[in-house]
């Protein structure tokens, strides 16, 4: 297929996934900040939300204060923030339009309808309820798009490149949450975290929609090292780094199998998956959670460049 088509499909999937992630961050933050201070402490959750979205620098270049209003506007509706939900949908649709022939009708309609709806939402909705509705709608749009892709696309390189986009973005997002919140997940020396941390942990799990999953997997109350385990190493958890890399390797292998040639992207993805598979949570904590995540983010970026060079340019 055309390299440009593959590139568009890849980024289309990434932007839809990113919009959903931003919606979940905003939702989780709204929930945390709605609680009395006694439960969550004096941290600025809105500042943390901007950092988790990976746009702290851009945000503080134009804003002095991170609060509910400024952050919601910046992450959801701003036209200046290239990664706002609004712009994610704009770019996703522009990409979809450029590769309409590679999309099924259902996928196009999912993305086009979302884009048309977004126009109807207009500027920032006034009330918290409207914003909540908006954030739910964003997640549903992403589900509809993803579901249409899964149910209607031919299983060929177009599908695989779009899946690669989803898992690259997902891995990146999960890693970013871990990077910002890692201090909350460090095992406490003496006692397990008090109620303050508890709600923070729940917030982390919510932003990757894994609160229920946690209980099913561990059948325990929230423990930071188990949360880290779930998000990093647990292959059952669809947003864990390990699961994302399992899927990346699979989809890249399908492409390579189809083209009859392996390349740097496949080798790198396999190496990263190997590192995740051979890691134990205790070792990660010993050598440093923050360092581990930092190294992963670098690896993930390198895979992105390899992919671009090998297929998309």
């Amino acid at each position: 297929m055309l390299s440009r088509t593959a590139d568009n499909l890849y980024w289309l999937a990434r932007y839809v996934e990113r919009a959903e992630y931003l919606a979940r961050i905003l939702e989780a933050t709204q929930r945390l900040t709605a609680m009395p201070l006694a439960y969550v402490g004096e941290t600025n959750e809105w500042e943390s939300a901007v950092a988790t979205a990976g746009c702290a620098a851009a945000f503080f270049a134009t804003h002095d204060e991170a609060n509910e209003e400024t952050v919601t506007d910046f992450l959801a509706f701003s036209t200046e923030n290239p990664s706002s939900i609004r712009n994610c949908f704009e770019v996703a649709r522009a990409n979809a339009r450029a590769v309409r022939t590679a999309l099924t009708m259902e996928m196009w309609e999912a993305i086009n309808t979302a884009w048309l709806e977004l126009k109807r939402f207009g500027n920032q909705p006034a009330s918290r309820e409207e914003i909540a509705r908006f954030l739910r709608w964003v997640q549903e749009s992403s589900l509809r798009f993803d579901g249409s892709a899964y149910r209607t696309m031919l299983r060929n390189d177009a599908y695989w490149f779009s899946r690669v986009g989803v898992y690259m973005e997902r891995a990146d997002n999960t890693a970013r949450i871990l990077d910002v919140k890692y201090h909350l997940l460090l095992p406490a020396d003496e006692h397990v975290g008090g109620p303050l941390d508890y709600y923070q942990w729940a917030g982390i799990l919510r932003s990757v929609s894994a609160l229920t999953a946690y209980h099913w997997v561990y059948r325990e109350s929230l423990k930071p090292w188990l949360i880290a385990d779930l998000l990093i190493l647990n292959e059952q958890m669809p947003r864990s780094l390990a699961s994302c890399y399992e899927n990346l390797v699979q989809n890249l292998d399908r492409i390579a199998g189809n083209y009859g040639r392996q390349g740097p992207a496949q080798r790198q993805a396999r190496a990263i998956r190997g590192r995740l598979q051979n890691s134990r949570m205790e070792e990660i904590f010993q050598t440093g959670l923050h360092e581990f995540i930092g190294a992963f983010v670098d690896d993930n970026n390198r895979l992105g460049s390899a992919l671009t060079q090998q297929y998309l340019a």
């Binding site: 297929m1 055309l2 390299s3 440009r4 088509t5 593959a6 522009a94 339009r97 450029a98 309409r100 022939t101 009708m105 196009w108 309609e109 086009n112 309808t113 048309l116 390189d157 490149f161 492409i255 083209y259 040639r261 297929y311 998309l312």
Partner: protein, 472 residues
Amino acid sequence: MAVAFDEMKGTDGEIRPAYSELANWLNGVRPDVLEYRRKEAELLFRRIGITFAVYGEADAQERLIPFDVIPRILSALEWETLSKGLEQRVKAINAYLRDIYGRREILKAGIVPEDLVFQNPVFRPEMNGQKVPHDVYVHIAGIDIVRVDADTFYVLEDNARTPSGVSYMLENREIMMRLFPELFSRHSVAPVENYPDELLATLKSLAPDSAPGDPNVVLLTPGVYNSAYYEHSFLADKLGIDLVEGRDLFVKAGIVYMRTTQGPKRVDVIYRRVDDDYLDPLMFRPDSALGVAGIMSAYQAGNVTLSNAVGTGIADDKAIYSYMPEILKFYLGEEPILKNVPTWRCREPEHLAYVLDHLEELVVKEVHGSGGYGMLIGPMADKAQVAAFRAKLKLDPKGFIAQPTLALSTCPTCVEAGVAPRHVDLRPFVLTGRDRIRIVPGGLTRVAMKEGSLVVNSSQGGGTKDTWVLGK
């Protein structure tokens, strides 16, 4: 201006046979049902994303062309005449282009004035003596037809460069079949859905001899910002070919390749929807970012087919149009089946004098204009507009032609006040391959939605209708 001929009611009010079923149905259908279906159609178009862009309007990035749910109907006999006439016309156009870029016999015979060709910006000296694959220049033509009475169809314009609109022909039919299945069961309507297959067969038949048995055909688009981008992606999809932009292609050692995820792949036929001017920055406009550097050298080496050929503008130019009946007779030795609209060439002094005397009743067109821009419709214009145009015309008579204001035929159309006659034209699409000419029965009917308006261009608020050719 004469009373317009109505395709349903003729001039005497009696329902014409092709429309009898439709007239019955229209009598029985409740107005709110029509209105409801119209809204449904609009929703479908919007959801599918069938939009177009209007140049020079900031906010009109993506607009819908109004769609009228009442079909326009042609009888089998009418279509038979039309399709014969179209085939004849396109044959003559191809013979003329072969000659203009070859031996130039028509110029030697003094039938077409030399300066009209050589001083014409759409003439491409680069194509002189250049052989094109299988000697066919215009592979896809959109011939605009208007009707003035029961028997007279005129060719209004030959579109021999990159004619658009065929996606509407196909989508209008799809939507009509979804909305009005009962209407189709009461008529026998010739299908148009095989157009993409016919087009692909045509394009493949034109591949250069050096191409492999199954040539690689692509559609070259200027990109998402082009007003016809929807059509480009639609056609590429229906044909099952890659939709490429200039940056997806490159030329190496006289061969055109596209960049794919598996490395370079050779391209044999390019259905290009990019104008000549933008095709190759090395040969034409050096500032073009839409084209492919070196593509002309590959073309001249005979390694790739460009569809349509380069330089076909010299056939559909408005200045050449008025010579088309003579051109046709010169090459085919036949009388034209489809007539031209009577045309005054303002370059000729007697013609100019007549036009200046009758501006109020004529339509005056810029020779190089298109899309309904830069024209004067005498009967619709006020005194100041006529005066301004007169000055423009005197300054550059060669730049204009004039035609009588035709009473274009009308068809019943849904308007706010109910169903009323509106003026229509027709653009059938003619495909010329190495082997034969293919025409699917029908075309794009454009309708002027405003009462009395004769301008059907979508950029000027015109709409479209499904066009039905009835079986025998």
